[in-house]
């Protein structure tokens, strides 16, 4: 039997554009008919495939525990969530933490602070700290992805909390991990970054604490967040790695660390979809494609 390059080309093409997408969508629809929903299968699905956009928010809500596995409880629980949201907004308005002109991201921050019992006293309104800025950044991105304000707040809150609980301990190790994979993929770029003193100054907070919020446009970002929400923080390393690889030529030409940082913090917004696709491929290559639990 001989290879048929034409056919390979075609199937590769369909894989990217449509056919595979249709199959994936069907299999997700089957998973979503389960009652109770199988969280493990849903996680595995979103680790392997991009979530179809029409189901993304629903799957995120289930994976983050905003909605319970039993579908027949969804209406009841959604009502509770909405009530909780409204109660908090109302109280913050009465206490004058927020008004009708407060930007929604700041409303979400105050709500989150109230629920975490760290709402600053009015007399001590200090400028937002690093954690607040991370929260605001994630909020701004989530707001672009999610239309409904109640869903948006719950997704931000649960995303941030789950990320902290699940991955808080792993975060300090991610820069080393990035260094390791960069040495495998492009040792020359690693030596260059080290030589100019840029390595310790890479925008790790933007990449690993904000999960690329404010770095990638939302259309690309949500595909990264699919992986984070379904249980991987390693994907963040590979997105960072793929950004470095994609702009290798530019970065090799910069000899000052602040130049490197400036470029990476304001990286071009074209080609980010391709960067994410390649990052996911690399991640599957090094960490394996999840078949069962992750």
């Amino acid at each position: 039997m001989t290879e048929d390059p034409q056919r390979n080309f075609r199937s590769a093409y369909y894989e990217k554009v449509g056919f595979r997408g249709v199959e994936e969508k069907k299999s997700l629809e089957i998973l979503l008919k389960d009652n109770p929903l199988d969280l493990e299968k849903l996680s595995t699905f979103s680790q392997r495939f991009p979530l179809p956009s029409m189901y993304r928010i629903h799957v995120w809500k289930v994976l983050l525990g905003i909605l319970p596995p039993h579908s027949d409880s969804h209406a009841l629980v959604a009502g509770y969530r909405r009530g909780q949201y409204q109660d908090i907004v109302e109280a913050l308005e009465v206490m004058r933490y927020i008004s009708s002109s407060t930007p929604s991201t700041h409303v979400y921050l105050r709500m989150f602070q109230l629920e975490s019992q760290v709402l600053p006293r009015c007399s001590e309104t200090s400028p937002p700290g690093d954690e607040d800025e991370d929260f605001l950044s994630i909020s701004r991105a989530m707001k672009e992805i999610v239309e409904d304000a109640v869903d948006c707040y719950w997704l931000i809150k649960s995303f941030v909390s789950q990320f902290q609980t699940k991955f808080g301990d792993s975060l300090p190790h991610l820069p080393k991990s990035l260094e390791h994979y960069l040495s495998q993929e492009e040792p020359r770029l690693l030596s260059h970054l080290r030589a100019v003193g840029a390595l310790p100054q890479l925008p790790y907070a933007l990449w690993f604490r904000r999960c690329f919020a404010g770095c990638l446009p939302e259309s690309s970002l949500q595909r990264v967040w699919d992986k984070v929400i379904s249980g991987s923080c390693k994907i963040l390393v590979f997105v960072a790695l793929e950004i470095l690889l994609s702009y290798k030529m530019v970065l090799m030409g910069v000899s000052r660390p602040d130049g490197v940082v400036r470029f990476l913090c304001n990286m071009p917004q074209e080609n980010t979809d391709a960067i994410v696709t390649k990052a996911i491929d690399l991640w599957h290559k090094y960490c394996g494609t999840p078949v069962h639990a992750v």
């Binding site: 009465v94 004058r96 008004s99 009015c122 007399s123 309104t125």
Partner: protein, 63 residues
């Protein structure tokens, strides 16, 4: 036996709900109280020139 478990669950949910409702009533009372106090403080503000500012200032500081 299953019915037993279900009715117990229902009772627990109802208990949680009434706890919530009770707490909500307290909140509403306190909110009304706070609103009244704010407007009182603000009404007094013009007469006591400088000392009136805190209340107004707080609202501003929060935005």
């Amino acid at each position: 036996f299953l019915e037993d478990v279900k009715s117990q669950a229902k009772a627990e949910l109802q208990a949680s709900d009434s706890r919530y409702q009770a707490q909500r009533k307290i909140t509403q009372l306190l909110q009304t109280e706070l609103l009244q106090l704010y407007s009182r403080v603000e009404m007094e503000a013009p007469t006591s020139a400088a000392s009136g500012s805190p209340a107004g200032g707080r609202a501003d500081a929060r935005i």
